[in-house]
Symmetry: D2
Subunit: 152 residues, 4 copies
């Protein structure tokens, strides 16, 4: 069956963090260049912010993403999704939260939430799905050591 | 029920265009600045390309998006999704196809496909959901005239 | 006389900070999305980084740039320049330094240096020239209060 | 002597094209994502547009830039400059003009002009200076064949 993007339940809190989920948190601010003529942060930036979150997630797991690539493995984005709840203005401070939703040696799913700095109100949430590939863009498996560190 | 992004069917051809669907098509090329250190177009650019598609869609419907905003209406992105099938390299030519999936006076859904210029192989597909707001960011209704043009 | 960009002295340390100059400093890291297929940060990002520096400069002077715009004044960029000395890779930490080179009620010049976090090696330097305008994009004068704060 | 960016003549039509200069021209439009909260195209985009111009310049000289890199040569940007004369709004069509100002086997200088599509009014002008490097980022010389094509 073809699921349509306009199905009534397509936007139903799909990507809320589990209450008991641990997450990595990074503070960021909206750059002037990230706003658009509507006066708020443009939708594309959220995917850059998700990526900043992933970078910090890996660093905190003691396996910087740069190091993963150095070893010849790439977490290629095959799917990305974002729901926008509350606009962000220029220079607004906010928190990027990222959590590992699922991981296997061939596929990794990260979930994200952006919240306001003080009151932790939800700004946006989303997810990205990644396949593991080698430098030749062939699907492969993450070595056990990296897998264990990310899962830790 | 909480639907998880890692459910097995989350990636199942959700956003394929219907075979009989009409669409607007724009040619584009990958800018050098749109590539990343993996050597291919970065995932965030696809959302900019979708937007280029929307701009052309509205123009071809004789209601340029600039004109819609001039009249005080905004199609604010509340959800965006992209599936990446095939990488794009620097300077690669491709086609952006956009189609109106659903429209009401308060909500609009666009679906997209990127295909290679010659063989029309699928590069990516996705959708964006928009709410209609006024200049004060309050949800409102698109006037009948704009609605009719977009539906035409 | 027409000065050519290829004149021999065009690259001669034009925008070094004066030794005794005070500056505002912000730490940043290269985002994955800021790299290009050459594997290093793309030249356009430096202008976004300069802008982050300006934002912090104004904040430290107790007149956030957001507040300047709220009062109806805009520091429109009319000229921008950057010299690239040393490439930046993904996730590399660096410092953005910004200093006010010149200010009058109608024109402001900022100078910038990017240096490595630890050894303070020069990565890039540049400047931006700004005209003061009102919301209607007409050139106007900064009020004395803002001018004094920026000069402080 | 230290030349200051605030010297009176720093903005004096430095980068006007020579009247008799031939140039490559590409049409472009401002993307929504390229505007900022001021409602006009953000200053950083101009450097992306210059790059689009370079790409077309090389293509028209029958030596696509992608091909130059494939042969192992890189035109690394070491200096970039832009003067902004007239703002560009969302969806505004404009022409990117690029011309080769100077070329040797080790250094290339491109100059640019952006003009309005119909009346050819000047929007911006600038230049970029490039050093030739190999894949290891070492300065090297462009082979005669590439040099000749670019000069043609």
């Amino acid at each position: 069956m073809r699921k349509s993007p306009n199905s009534e339940n397509s936007s139903n809190k799909i990507f809320s963090f589990s209450k008991d989920k641990s997450f990595t948190e990074v503070k960021a601010r909206v750059r002037y260049s990230e706003t658009d003529r509507m006066g708020v942060a443009h939708n594309r930036n959220y995917f850059e912010w998700f990526e900043i979150g992933r970078t910090e997630f890996c660093r905190q797991k003691n396996i910087p993403y740069k190091e993963i690539e150095k070893q010849g493995y790439y977490l290629v984005v095959v799917e990305s999704f974002c729901q926008y709840k509350k606009p962000l203005g220029y220079d607004d401070p906010f928190l990027i939260r990222v959590s590992l939703e699922k991981i296997s040696s061939k596929k990794v799913v990260f979930v994200y939430e952006l919240v306001t700095e003080k009151e932790k109100k939800k700004i946006a949430s989303g997810y990205t799905v990644h396949f593991v590939t080698n430098a030749q863009a062939k699907v492969c498996s993450l070595p056990a050591e990296i897998l264990m560190k990310l899962k830790a």
